[in-house]
Symmetry: C2
């Protein structure tokens, strides 16, 4: 009941609901944004968006990978991935070929140019991450990771669920 100092309103709540401060999605969004705000300038300086960077990193970790699998790993939806790949391919950062056994499937891999770009961006990125880990505490960070993973699990990170519509 402590009311904050929002503009001329003391207890003017018009509906009964948890306050924003207790919104889980909001808390996750804010935390993520605070983190990303540290990385974005570095990526931007190399002409990369956050998503493009995720894709390059994912590709750098394997020899080759299919589009659908890449979407799963980089946590991007198909449509977004299609658009981004079109661009990255045009920039010569990734290469693509068609699977000989199943022509529907595209097989992707990172190019030499892409690897060089990663080599330019990674050091700074790692340094930023290290700073965050140092300030927040490495142990605490590990604990946070664990809890986030468990949250995903308990909710069912797969994707079903429907809380029903009452009416």
């Amino acid at each position: 009941m402590s009311d904050s100092k929002a503009k001329g309103s003391k207890d003017a709540r018009k509906v009964p609901m948890r306050d924003f401060s207790q919104s889980l999605p909001m808390a996750l969004l804010r935390a993520r944004e605070a983190v990303m705000r540290q990385f974005r300038p570095n990526l931007r300086a190399h002409g990369l968006t956050e998503q493009q960077w995720r894709i390059l990193r994912a590709l750098a970790a394997v020899d080759a990978i299919e589009v659908t699998e890449l979407a799963r790993v980089a946590f991007l939806l198909g449509p977004s991935l299609s658009r981004i790949l079109r661009d990255l391919e045009a920039r010569g950062l990734v290469q693509r070929e068609v699977d000989a056994r199943d022509m529907r499937r595209g097989v992707l891999s990172i190019s030499t140019k892409g690897l060089k770009l990663i080599a330019q961006v990674a050091p700074n990125s790692e340094a930023i991450y290290a700073t965050i880990a140092r300030r927040y505490g490495a142990r605490k960070l590990a604990a946070l990771h664990k809890m986030l993973g468990e949250l995903e699990q308990s909710i069912g990170g797969g994707g079903e669920a429907d809380a029903g519509d009452d009416e």
Copy 2:
């Protein structure tokens, strides 16, 4: 179909970098998405997006609020907010007037229609949240909230200048 899963991807890492599984932004994104996946259907059923819902909730908690302040509270950027308000206003869910003392400022408030919509959506939303809290554990959830807030703090999510690294 006896071969391939991804040709020899085991040890094919081409660059030295943390694995995706240890990416903090990714972990936060995944967790948030898992949570939002629970809420979206309910919102969508009432013709609301996540951001529109955030705005209505924020407005319902106060008598009136300025655009800039609303952006801060609902954690939205100005441009997004402008577009969304245009729509919500057209739908009669929010009202806007101009501050008499400073004509640059817009003062917003939720309409009766908006309040009714919230009343329709909130119960289900609260129920979904309760389910998550029950499955994950109320205590653990509180701890997670706390850790997320601290992460923001330690990084400097308060909206000040950057952490200064430099080149």
